[in-house]
Amino acid sequence: MKQSLIAAAIAASAATVLGGDVTGKVTLKGTPPPEKPIAPLMADANCGKAVSGTVTTRHFVVGADHGLGNVFVYVKAGLSGTKFDAPATKTVVDQKGCLYEPYVSGAMAGVAVEITNSDPFLHNVNFMKSDAGNTPFNTAQGPGAKPMDRVFQNPEVFVKLQCNVHPWMFGYIGVVGNPFFAVTDKDGHYAIKGLPAGKYTLAFKHLKGGEVTQEVEVKDSGAAANATIELK
């Protein structure tokens, strides 16, 4: 009996430490402007060979049932004062087909982001402007160059990377102070894993659509939180 109680207590505290998953869907309300074909990419002597078909901008990625992709979901309040380990999966940003992949990603402040170049030609990774005191950098990555690690010390949503050799190339990283973040897929779905039980303010930020917040209570079994971003 005593052993069962001890085992149950350990399981309960483990569940509290591990937390639950927060899942949901972000939808778009309103009509977004049409995406534009990136003509200079397709016309470029190098980039044109690296892609097939028409490549368009990715300002609004709208999927099934108005699901909105590339929304950065993060815990805006409720975790202050707590220190967490780095995420299990390293954030990797690749330069492929003369585009940053993924277009929007997330990273934890103080944890290295790996930037790679899968294209057989030169790119440069320019982080120009920071409103949060992160150190700008501008580094060339030639064909076959080793992946480079860059650390953003301070939370900043969003950090913008740009290639000046190919000016249509830009990507964004949401940098937050904890490992609990996600980016919606093309149909607007997301999942934040292992958020400790408690009450939080979740933020859903889209580059053009803006940000909405929602209060959510996470239990050991997790929580569901959907959001809608509305165009003006």
């Binding site: 995406e35 534009k36 901008t57 501008n138 580094t139 740009q162 050799v165 000016p167």
Partner: protein
């Protein structure tokens, strides 16, 4: 031979013994060289316009080297990498223009007795050196805030405006070494230019303000702050409240990632449009007056009016084409040519005033001793 002494203060003694001194003017080939440097500078300004239009100003992140190579030793096979070609070509042509300017100044120094012209040529050398440094520091201090704005924006605006100041300096050197310069100093034969020079210089001053406004617009990298013309967001003057700006920025999509539009940028573009209308109206009015007066200068004013008209049309086309690179760059080039035309026309008119030669072409009190045939004696 008799001496005709004009009204006004006694002119300064010439640099050499007076009665035997003959003004030494640069030979015609110096004028040709000056014109060539002007043309090269105009091409350089257009090339710089391409760099900004394509947003590749940082395609080469180091200066004065290019990806670690000496500027003139950068392997040609590496040029053909996106925006690297345009930025590096801009630097190479800029260095060449700098060298040509130095050669021109040396030729003017060796062949000219007019001190002000020699000084002007060396001033052009100093300005082109400054211009090179501004371009270099625009790259090196790209991320460093300067007076609250990014180094890229601050130095970019200075670089853009200094380029056209340099162009105009060279234009005056070319004008002053031309065979026409002496003819401008003869009797004008018309009262029109006596007043027109002030209006021309006034328009040039306004064009200079327009240049700073335009450079600020381009260096903001906000794309088209107003996407329609002649209206602005469907109105005569657009709203700039927070909700309107949020809606504008949500609906804006471009290939290069333009910065969000701000109220300041919308107001700036409206100022640009208003100044354009005022400038065009001013030049057309002047051209019409010159034509009515059958002025010998009417052809130049007509050319100036045509340039301004083309510039306004290119400005509209920049908006209608969604800031197509070629159109936006042509707008930069014709703008530079319009300013150059205005400056050289204004200086020529100043010289033609009252038929006097002067050290300061626009100074009405300085004169010279002339023969009865109107030939000057003594250096100016």
């Amino acid at each position: 031979m008799s001496l005709t002494i004009p009204r006004g203060p006694v002119p300064m003694p010439p640099e050499r013994p007076s009665s035997l001194s003959i003004r030494r003017s640069a030979p015609f080939w110096v004028h040709v060289l000056a014109c060539a440097v002007v043309a090269a500078t105009l091409a350089l300004i257009v090339l710089g316009g391409v760099v900004t239009s394509k947003s590749v100003g940082m395609a080469v992140p180091d200066w004065p080297t290019t990806y670690g190579h000496h500027m003139f030793a950068f392997p040609f096979e590496k040029w053909r990498q996106g925006g690297v070609f345009w930025e590096h070509a801009h630097r190479v042509v800029a260095s060449s223009v700098g060298a040509l300017t130095l050669v021109l100044a040396g030729c003017v120094q060796a062949t000219e007795s007019r001190r002000w012209l020699r000084r002007l040529a060396w001033t052009a050398v100093a300005v082109v050196c400054l211009q090179g440094a501004l371009g270099g520091y625009r790259v090196k201090l790209n991320d460093i805030p300067v007076f609250g704005i990014s180094g890229a924006t601050f130095f970019g605006i200075l670089h853009a405006t200094t380029s056209q100041i340099f162009l105009c300096l060279l234009g005056v050197v070319a004008l002053a070494t031309s065979p026409s310069w002496r003819r401008f100093g003869g009797p004008s034969g018309s009262t029109g230019p006596v007043r027109a020079h002030r209006e021309v210089l006034g328009i040039v001053a306004l064009m200079s303000v327009q240049l700073v406004v335009a450079a600020t617009m381009r260096q903001q990298h906000a794309g088209l702050a107003i996407p329609d013309f002649p209206l602005a967001y469907g109105r005569v003057y657009p709203a700039t409240d927070a909700d309107t700006l949020a809606r504008i920025n949500q609906q804006r999509t471009s290939i290069v990632d333009d910065m969000p539009v701000t109220a300041f940028q919308i107001h700036l573009q409206m100022v640009h449009r208003i100044l354009a209308v005022l400038l065009l109206a001013g030049v057309i009015s002047l051209a019409a007056r010159q034509r009515r007066a059958a002025s010998p200068w009417s052809g130049w004013f007509r050319l100036w009016a045509i340039l301004l008209g083309a510039q306004c049309l290119l400005g509209a086309a920049t908006i209608w084409t969604g800031k197509l690179d070629a159109v936006a760059t042509a707008h930069v080039g014709i703008g530079a040519l319009s300013l150059l035309t205005g400056v050289t026309l204004g200086i020529a008119l100043c010289r033609a005033r009252n038929g006097r030669l002067a050290i300061n072409p626009c100074d009405p009190t300085r004169g010279e001793i002339q023969t009865a045939a109107g030939e000057p004696i003594g250096a100016s």
